[in-house]
């Protein structure tokens, strides 16, 4: 497996307080090794999406430091190394499937994004929808396009915020296959999900967060041992109740 000394992601004392006073993350430390498949679990409002948004420069951090492969997260290099598939579908309504990928590649500095866009359209089974605008795609097709867009510029760290939320079983299996293949190629993956079986199936390491704090972090097996239970569901229930 691909590893290197510099962590793919390092958070030091990350704090985010929103303008309305809500403290979403408080003095949060986290280190994710390069090449890892890392899961982030927690209830709604735990701070998962805030953490991801901070890494991807989508919100203003109140305090702390975020490093991506050793570089400050708001630097141009660090930004080009991260690919994000957000929880909500946020596709440009004016662009077709091909344009969505090509323009994303352009924003991320690719000189000739066309061939890579074609490659991903084939990989994600969107050939028949190549020239269709995003609002006219089905829910599953939009979810595939969202993931394809996140991978377009070949990021070293891919962040997937609940990528299988609300998708049917077949698409979930398809997405798992894509994500596993990506990880096998050496890409670091940070996955948030509400599906515990998904985290157990895919992730090498899992962090449980609640109320903007890290509660526990280990492999699924290690968490079960630590909490003295036999199922990850019970780990989750115990951790969130403690």
């Amino acid at each position: 497996m691909y590893r290197e000394d510099t962590p793919a992601l390092e958070l030091r004392g990350l704090t985010k307080r929103y303008d309305d006073g809500t403290l979403a993350l408080e003095d949060f430390d986290l280190k994710i090794p390069a090449g890892a498949f890392f899961g982030l679990l927690g209830p709604n409002g735990a701070g998962k999406t805030t953490l991801i948004s901070a890494v991807c420069n989508l919100l203003r951090v109140t305090d702390g430091e975020v490093l991506v492969f050793g570089e400050p997260h708001d630097g141009l290099d660090a930004r080009s190394w991260v690919g994000l598939a957000e929880q909500d579908i946020n596709l440009d309504r004016f662009l077709t499937v091909k344009e969505t990928l090509v323009y994303h590649g352009g924003y991320f500095g690719m000189k000739d994004p066309g061939p890579r866009a074609d490659e991903l359209i084939d990989a994600f089974g969107l050939q028949a929808k190549r020239d269709v605008r995003a609002p006219r795609l089905s829910g599953g097709q939009r979810r595939r396009l969202l993931l394809a867009r996140a991978l377009m510029h070949k990021p070293r760290l891919v962040i997937l915020d609940e990528p299988t939320a609300g998708v049917d079983f077949e698409l979930r299996m398809d997405l798992w296959r894509y994500i596993r293949q990506l990880h096998a190629e050496g890409t670091t993956i940070l996955l948030t999900t509400h599906y515990l079986e998904e985290a157990e199936e895919l992730c090498e390491e899992i962090a449980l967060i609640r109320g903007g704090h890290l509660i526990a972090r280990d492999s699924a097996e290690g968490l079960r041992e630590h909490f003295g239970v036999s199922r990850l569901t019970d780990v989750y229930v115990k951790a969130m109740a403690s």
Partner: protein, 248 residues
Amino acid sequence: MVWLCKRETLRVSKLWTQTVLAPVVSSILFILVFGLSLGGRIKQVGGVDYEVFIVPGLITMGMVQAAYSNNASTIFQARFDRYVNDVLSAPMRPWQMSFGFTVGGVVRALAIGLALLVLAFFLVDVPVKHPFELALAMALGLVLFASLGLVVGIYAETFDHTSFIQNIVILPLTFVGGVFYSIDILPSPWQELSHFNPIFYLVNAVRYGFLGESDVSILLSLAVTAALAIPAYLWAQHLFTTGKRLKD
């Protein structure tokens, strides 16, 4: 940045019936209706035929409204649908983002201005007496209103907010900014009050470029427009640099 400029231009071209054709048709209707109906009664303003006199103001009005509304709606939609995140997370500098988003409004306004210029040339034979001053006035006006559109689109909570500024602020100020008349004909205090209307200076700078006629000095007109355009651009730039309202 080039790709963001391309995207903004693509949006304008994909919606060309709304973004270019509709404003051109409405401005031409103004020229035909006002020029033909009032032109028979007013004859000349400052030695210029009335139907020619109103053309610079109408071109200005069409262009600045397009620059404003294009940029207000493009950034508001991008925020509302959250695809602005694709740009905000990209390895682009803040000035590249604000420049890229500004380009769409400028391209749209230039397309409208060019179409109106060609049509007005054939309809009323409007001259261009000072092309340099005309280009400078247009450039400053477009920077002002394209930037203002970005700022309003970034602050807007609903689409109505962007329309409100257009319909309650920009449109009335344009109408009373001397598009259809010279302020010389206004009684006091309206004539003096007109000098507090920033669009009055832009309209007069453009009119000077076309006709060589203006209610105020061209230097003053350009200076006032520049004094508004530069802070407006810096304000838009500031919002991208700090992430205020974009990253909340």
